[in-house]
Symmetry: C2
Subunit: 426 residues, 2 copies
Amino acid sequence: MNYSCSRYELKCNECGKRFGNQPLSACPDCLAPLEITYDREAARHLFTKENIAAGPANIWRYAALLPIPDGFQPDLPVGFTPLVRAKNLGKRIGAANLYVKNDAVCFPTLSFKDRVVSVALANAQKFGFDIVGCSSTGNLANSVAAQAARLGLKATILVPADLEPAKILNTLVYGARLVRIDGNYDHVNRLCTQIADEYAWGLVNVNLRPYYAEGSKTVGYEIAEQLGWRLPDNVVVPMAGGSLIRKIRKAFNELIYLGLVEEKPVRFFGAQASGCSPISVAVKEGTDTIEPQRPNTIARSLAIGNPADGPAAAKMIRSSGGWAEDVSDVEIVSGIQELAETEGIFTETAGGVTTAVTARLYADGRISANETTVTCITGNGLKTTDALIGRYQQERAVRPRLADFDAYLRELDGITELELTTAGAL
Amino acid sequence: MNYSCSRYELKCNECGKRFGNQPLSACPDCLAPLEITYDREAARHLFTKENIAAGPANIWRYAALLPIPDGFQPDLPVGFTPLVRAKNLGKRIGAANLYVKNDAVCFPTLSFKDRVVSVALANAQKFGFDIVGCSSTGNLANSVAAQAARLGLKATILVPADLEPAKILNTLVYGARLVRIDGNYDHVNRLCTQIADEYAWGLVNVNLRPYYAEGSKTVGYEIAEQLGWRLPDNVVVPMAGGSLIRKIRKAFNELIYLGLVEEKPVRFFGAQASGCSPISVAVKEGTDTIEPQRPNTIARSLAIGNPADGPAAAKMIRSSGGWAEDVSDVEIVSGIQELAETEGIFTETAGGVTTAVTARLYADGRISANETTVTCITGNGLKTTDALIGRYQQERAVRPRLADFDAYLRELDGITELELTTAGAL
């Protein structure tokens, strides 16, 4: 397979100046973030339904609109996660056309961060970095550590000191150097910005950020393709830094521009935890100004108090006719349980946020029952099991004899005599 | 998509008697296990490379040789996990053509059990069971609970009382009834056999076992297809009950019979933990008689002391020219780390067993460097994190200032002056 991609380069969002390709995330003149721009006319010939369908069942089928260097040969089958029709959850929350985009089973490390990391590391290798890294609330740490190991790159990863044990272990096991920082994510991230200036390291979400962020577009491409090349009415997206929701919109816009889907209005809904809700507060107050918060929530993967893309995300959400909502820690846990009990999908706390917010949006009438809505689950529940500890009581162990088992079932609530007497009915 | 499958029914391995389709696992006459038999001539027309390629990227592309009821519409995109070329691990253990079949990222619950459960539950629904269940060492519990939730079936799941916390939580979260049994897996399983006789329940690995076990064949189909429709020289497979390794062989034989691959000798290698190695002991001693063991190993998902398919697995391994090996708990942990550090794949203890055994087979010259070998990773490391606790020391937290970070790195082993002074070199 030839992974042809369109020509691309860095461009300042503000002044429009172009910078070729280099590890740089902000315009030296106006300090605005840089973004990747493509030769869209070249893309028109490469990025077609036919070419995409002929590609592999992973994100590299969309290579023509990803910033990957010439001659790049993808090493891992990242992404192309299931878009699951969520009839059971829908029934519970009054949604007739609900879909779950399930990145809880993203390859290789079970979160949507695998998408961005694979694109960032392709560029890290091209730029000649031997050491890569990131600031992370956990999922990014796991993904950088795993993919760097596979590519033979050294990884140094900075995290807030209080990160969940499973996410710490799931970084160390790959042989990465993990540095715990005495502070929250915003402290870690500021430090990483300084590190990127001082060290010759490729930090995927700092000096490689423009490349990295483009990987998120693949969530949008997959949603559209898996819906049969059409756009949904609504998308519900968890927000940490505010980048993912914007990139899904960018993906949809590219698909419209290139004629792969029909143009239609899509409303974007952002989901946050009430304990860290700077973007949702801004949306609710009708402003694009983000008031930074000090995070205090179990949804640690969303705990970014001063989100880099917050202003742009708030603006985009409102202009789409969407909304943002935030939910308490108790609702987050209920959201995790509800998604598991109805659809058999075990998500981490961030997915509990998204599920609970989705339910709230239907309950409040912000989304109507018959609209087509995709809710984005971005990580796996096995990474944040501590959030559920204490929610389930440990039942006593039963002796391995049928009489004891019978007696035990009769003790339990919910066991019916009917259930015990229909043996042999089949 | 029309999921056409060939006609199939239960048949006794021993006396050849046929039983149609019903929840039954052993021949009432000779007590031998029942197996599914297909109309292979019908399969010849349905099970073709072209039809398979036109199918979805999941196990249902192989529906023509799976026992799924007429009119079955698959609900979940199970399986079709990556077959990863393992160059780094290969370099470390002297294997030039090594592949990892990575069911650590199997959809939906991150183990190969998702394959068997989806086939079993399709039949449970057809037979009219409202309650399903299983005896389990963990992965099966997770998969039954999740898929039953999605299908709207009630689940009752029996496990040994000492199961890993993550596997218990990852069962309860789906709303399943979990019963902890005071004993090891063999006790649990005996009890489940009695339950299947007494209750009108569909126990996937008891009265639905013949249907269930066929799901494992999809690992073999995928390996062959992902190698470009050819068979490997060797396959290394973890063994608990001894079913998976036999079903991979069955899949290969079907592919040969139908002409989808060229016939060639494939050697099968079984992997066990030394703390529960009844099959590997039998293979080493050149016998098909299994001496039951009392399990004592951290690889709890392989801790079956009296494996149902043990005799047949031992016989098959030896007749293929393969071998079986077992490794200590220390080697299991090293195996987990080695696979993570080289290929970025985090597997559970069973995968540590398989990786360590694979290394041993190359070291002992039982597999030669240039042969094509597939090693089967069957579950995810996030389910058995307790096996690694204490292997990594918690480093002190660092203040979020560049000077502190610099000082910290200089303190650590492995940081070079070079690394700190090459800033700006790019």
